[in-house]
C-alpha cells in the first residue's frame, strides 16, 4: 500500500470561496481536481501539502458552452466529457482527440481539462518512490541539486506530459485564471514555460477556471500521440496540427510538438511558411524540418533515437490527416 501523507481537506462551493481559501492557506495548499495526477504523486512523496483544496463542488466550472466566437470549456469538465462533446469535436477537434487518449477510460472519467493543463511534468528520475529517488541522491526537480538526464544541467528538463497542452497551443486557446487580483487571461502558448520544476505561468493563489478556444470557419485540427500501449500511458511524443483554410486554400498552419521537454514546442518551419508554400503544403519537407528541430531527451521512458525518428512519422501522419480533412 502507498499511504498518503496527512493533510486537511477543504471543499469550497464557489470559485470566490476557493480563491479566498487559497489566499488564506498560502503556499501550503494544493488544488485537487480529478486526483489522477496529484494523488499518485503524493503517494510517491513528491508533494506533501498541509491542505488540499478539492474543487469537486465547483459545478459552475463543468461543461462546454459556446460564447460568441469562442468555445468555453470549464476547467472541471472531465476529459471524457471534452472528448465526447459534439461542439469540441467540431470546433476544437485536436483538443477532443487529445482528451480522448489521455490515460485510460477511468482516468478520463475522473481527470479534468484544468487538471491535465496543470499536470506536473514527468521524468524517469522524478516519478519514483522516495526510496528510489533517495538511492540516486535525488534530483534537480525534487530535494536534490543534480540532473540525471543532462549531465551538469542546471535547469530541470522534465517533460510536459499533458496531451491537451499541445492541442490548446495549436488551437490558439486562451487560459483563464482567477486569483485574488481578479481574472487573468493568457494565451496557451505563454501559459507553459520552459522550466521542468514548474512549467506553468499559474501564480500562487490562482485557479485555472476555463479554456477558451476560438471558433473559426475553415479550421481543421488533429492530434497524434506516441505511446507504448494503446491506453493508460503518458505520451512519449505528441503532435497537434492546426490548419486554417480560406476559399479552398491553406492560410495558416501551426504544428506543436510536446513531451520533449518542459514547454511544448511550436515548429518554427511551419510558422515561416509563405503563402506559396502553404498552397502546396510540403508535408515531407515539414516532417524533415521537425526531425531536425526536435531533440528528445532521455527524460521519459522510450528509446531516444526511436522517439526522435517518430517525430517525422507523427508530423507526417498529422499533416496528412489534417489536409485530408480540410
Amino acid at each position: 500500500m502507498l499511504p498518503l501523507p496527512e493533510f486537511t481537506v477543504h471543499t469550497p462551493a464557489s470559485v470566490d470561496e476557493a480563491v479566498a481559501l487559497l489566499a488564506k492557506l498560502g503556499p501550503g495548499a494544493m488544488l485537487l481536481a480529478g486526483g489522477t495526477d496529484l494523488l499518485p504523486n503524493m503517494k510517491q512523496g513528491l508533494h506533501a501539502p498541509a491542505h488540499v483544496v478539492s474543487l469537486q463542488r465547483l459545478g459552475a466550472l463543468r461543461g462546454v458552452r459556446r460564447e460568441g466566437d469562442a468555445l468555453v470549456i470549464g476547467a472541471m469538465t472531465t476529459l471524457d466529457a471534452v472528448a465526447g462533446s459534439a461542439e469540441a469535436k467540431t470546433h476544437a477537434a485536436a483538443l477532443a482527440e487529445a482528451a480522448a487518449v489521455v490515460g485510460g477510460p477511468q482516468h478520463r472519467r475522473m481527470g479534468t481539462l484544468g487538471g491535465n493543463l496543470c499536470l506536473d511534468t514527468r521524468c524517469r528520475y522524478y516519478n519514483q518512490t522516495a526510496f528510489w529517488r533517495g538511492a540516486l541522491g535525488y534530483c534537480l526537480k525534487k530535494d536534490g541539486d543534480t540532473c540525471h538526464v543532462v549531465e551538469g544541467g542546471r535547469k530541470c528538463v522534465a517533460a510536459a506530459s499533458n496531451d491537451t497542452a499541445a492541442a490548446a497551443i495549436a488551437l490558439e486557446a486562451t487560459v483563464v485564471l482567477t486569483g485574488p487580483a481578479g481574472i487573468r487571461r493568457l494565451p496557451a502558448a505563454d501559459f507553459f514555460v520552459a522550466d521542468g520544476a514548474r512549467n506553468t505561468a499559474r501564480r500562487e493563489g490562482e485557479l485555472l477556471t476555463a479554456l477558451e478556444v476560438p471558433v473559426r470557419a475553415g479550421r481543421v485540427s488533429v492530434y497524434e500521440k506516441l505511446r507504448r500501449r494503446g491506453a493508460i500511458d503518458f505520451p512519449l511524443l505528441s503532435v497537434a496540427v492546426r490548419l486554417d483554410r480560406e476559399d479552398g486554400s491553406a492560410r495558416a498552419l501551426d504544428v506543436v510538438i510536446s513531451a520533449l521537454a518542459a514547454k511544448p514546442r511550436r515548429l518554427a518551419a511551419a510558422q515561416k511558411l509563405g503563402a506559396a508554400d502553404l498552397a502546396t503544403l510540403p508535408i515531407d519537407t515539414l516532417a524533415d524540418a521537425a526531425l531536425r528541430e526536435c531533440n528528445p531527451l532521455p527524460n521519459i521512458e522510450g528509446d531516444v533515437v526511436w522517439r526522435k525518428q517518430m517525430v517525422r512519422v507523427l508530423v507526417k501522419r498529422a499533416l496528412g490527416r489534417a489536409t485530408s480533412l480540410a
Binding site: 489522477t36 494523488l39 499518485p40 493508460i232
Partner: protein
Amino acid sequence: MPEALVTLSLRVNGDDVRVAVRPSQTLLEVLRVGLELTGTKQGCDKGDCGACTVLLDGEPVLACLTLAVTCEGRVVQTVESLTREDPLVDAFDCHGAGQCGFCTPGMLMTAKGLLAKHGRPSRETIKQAISGNLCRCTGYGPIVEAIAAAGEGRRGKKDEEPLPAPLPSWEAPKP
C-alpha cells in the same frame, strides 16, 4: 498530531452507511479496511492497473485515486453487489474469464458500467472500455467474449447446457 476524523455518509451497495474516515484515506482503503468489503482489489495503488475500479454514481472510477471525503452523499457499487445470478458473473463463469481472479472485480465493475450504457456493445467498444484494466494472466479474449455474451443475453457455448445445480446447503454434522 493525528488527523481529525470526519464522518462520511454514503450509499454502498444499496446500504446507507456512516463511517469515520481520515481525510487522507482513499475510497479503496475505506471500502477494504473500514467496511471490510475486500472484493475490491488493491493492485498498483497509483492508478495504473484498474483493479480497484468501482462504480461511483454509476461511473467506473479508480477507488485508489478517490479521496473518501469527496464521496459524501454519493452512491458506490462494488463487486459485492453482483450476485451469482447476475448475467455478467454467469458469463464470466461460463467463458472461464476469471483466470487468477485478481483483475476480475475491476473488470466486472467496468463491464457493469459499460452495459448500463450500451445494451449490446461491439467487441471494439468492449476493448476500449476495459483498456484501463490490466489482466496479467493476459486472458483478455475470454473477458471480452464474456462481456459480449452478457450484453447479448446469451450464455456462449453453454447455451444448451442446463444451469449448474445449486450448491448443496451445508448442514452441521450430527454429534
